[in-house]
Amino acid sequence: MNNFKLVLNLSLRNLWRQRRRNSILLVAITVAIGGVIVLNSLIRGMQVQMVDSVVENLSGHIKMHAPNYRDDPSMERGFVLDPRGVERAIEGLPVLGWAARISIPAVIMSERETRGATLIGVDPDQEHISIISRFELEGESLKSASDSRILVGRALVEELRTKLGRRIVITTLDSNGMSKEIGFRIAGVYDAESESFEKSLVFSGRNALQELLGSSKVTEVSIRLKTRYAQKEDFEQVRDSFLELDVLDWQQANPIVAFMYNTVNLVIYIWLGIVLGALVFGLVNTLITAVLERIREFGLFRAVGMRPRIIIAQVVSESVCLMLLGIVFGVTGSLLIFAWLHNGIDLSAFASGVEMMGMSSQMKPALVAHDVLVVVLVSVVLAVVASFYPARRAVRMNPLDALRH
């Protein structure tokens, strides 16, 4: 304890003695650590947004299809909904709600244009779990599952050169694989955050659609939990209740987004490694200089009976103190920046690129405590590692030679 105080005292004073040199390094550490944390929080924010929007945009946390549906989505590959079975499967889970839907490809025709899209049959009473209940609408929403009108996205309405209240004709395949043409009246025009969403999805009542297509099947059930991510056990409980169906978590249901999500995890650590690795070089360099210019002092200390490990502790503690200071400044700085960016950064200038990744044009940073902790711990460990070589040099020399230096 005595020695610890002495060592700390000496380190701080020596850091102060070379305050010019050390403050330059301190700035570098602060910027690096603050930068890493801010960038990580932006990346995490992107990730969260990716997941949220995937979950919100009809995927839910857990999704079920008939086994071969995903290869060729069609009414033929639907299944008969067993609502009680679903209720049993989700018993005890933190479920916000679930929705059974029909989701099939369709060709949409107005008087002027033709477009491909996905026709989705929904029960509005179940859709509080998805974005459908939160559309900004011109016109009316669907009244019930038997509502046979249609909701079309703003972008698609413009492409089709039609408008609210008009009729459109949809061609799709019924449950026997026979082509069928159905007329719909546009009940509402919705605005979604992403244009591609607006262009590709149209919504009608599920029961109405079943009747029109002569089938009692649905093609998917989507379950949304109250938490952001589904627990593994929760997912497994549902999966094991529906052995005859494909039960997917959001990652399996959205492999491309999931791949990006996981790549981002890796990117965070690579980026951390590069930045902190560069810092270590600066640190080692400064420490070696600091040791060499004090070689006589170390010699004196040892000549009067200081054990080598206390000398080593001095160098290590100098490195760690500098790093800790940098961490305090860096973390504080990053928290300030985080608070400032808290309401999101407007990326609408790059909106189309951003939307492709399933994100909105507002970018909200998300601070993950675990990431900050990793940055802090890795920095401290690196500060210790970086001081090893300089510390060895401080004790390698015989005290007499060091004194004569």
């Binding site: 005595n2 004073r13 004196l300 040892r302 009067v304 009976g305 005290p399």
Partner: protein, 229 residues
């Protein structure tokens, strides 16, 4: 069992090898007893510093044995030698003695800190010793703000603070004027008499020699005569 604090037996120290080998000490045998005030004298390069370093466990002999209180120093590990220097010896070096970032009193106190003395005791003790070398006023000044003589006195205080068995000083008066040298010597003499601290000084200075109880004369690494004063 002898009364000797330090014993050198047939000690030889050779630096380098072959043609360039320097015999800094050759077959030196000498004993230093408790309470002595010994000066090691001789021309430059005769091996004074070498002898002091060997006794201080800072260097080891090429052949022969150095014992401190009947313990052969070659049997000590490095850490044990460190502890020995910390607890049993005090050093005043010729040139570089003080840690620049520590104040005068801290330069004295850190020895006690390493020895594990309680904070409140060591503060008082450090000030007491500084006072005894006449530097109570300069306690909070850093070495850079002290004169050469003051620095040397701080070094003496540092060497004395741990109540060593043996005080080793290598030309402590090299940078001092004769008045300051006298003051320093009086101080050493007082300590020598009051605490029976054994004192071993390498010096060229006749003023310092006049305070000694015995001188050891070295010439070309050999003892010329070792006589009682």
């Amino acid at each position: 069992m002898t009364d000797a604090v330090v014993q050198l037996k047939d000690v030889t120290r050779v630096y380098g090898q072959g043609n360039v080998a320097v015999h800094a000490l050759q077959e030196v045998t000498v004993e230093i007893y408790r309470g002595e005030f010994v000066c090691v004298v001789g021309p430059s390069g005769c091996g004074k510093s070498t002898m002091l370093h060997l006794i201080g466990g800072l260097d080891s002999p090429t052949s022969g044995t150095v014992t401190l209180e009947d313990q052969d120093l070659s049997t000590y590990s490095n850490n044990e030698l460190s502890d020995l220097r910390l607890k049993r010896m005090g050093f005043v070096f010729q040139a570089f003695n003080l840690i620049p970032v520590l104040s005068a009193s801290e330069n004295v106190e850190f020895i006690l800190q390493l020895q594990g003395v309680e904070p409140k005791d060591r503060k008082a003790r450090a000030l007491e010793v500084l006072d005894s070398v006449g530097l109570a006023d300069a306690a909070n000044r850093r070495p850079g703000e002290l004169s050469g003589g003051q620095q040397q006195r701080v070094a003496v205080a540092r060497a004395l603070v741990g109540s060593p068995l043996l005080l080793i000083a290598d030309e402590p008066s090299a940078n001092l004027d004769s008045t300051t040298t006298r003051e320093l010597c009086e101080l050493l003499q007082t300590i020598n008499r009051e605490h029976r601290t054994t004192i071993l000084i390498a010096t060229h200075d006749s003023v310092v020699m006049s305070y000694s109880t015995r001188t050891i004369q070295l010439e070309d690494g050999k003892i010329r005569q070792a006589d009682a004063a």
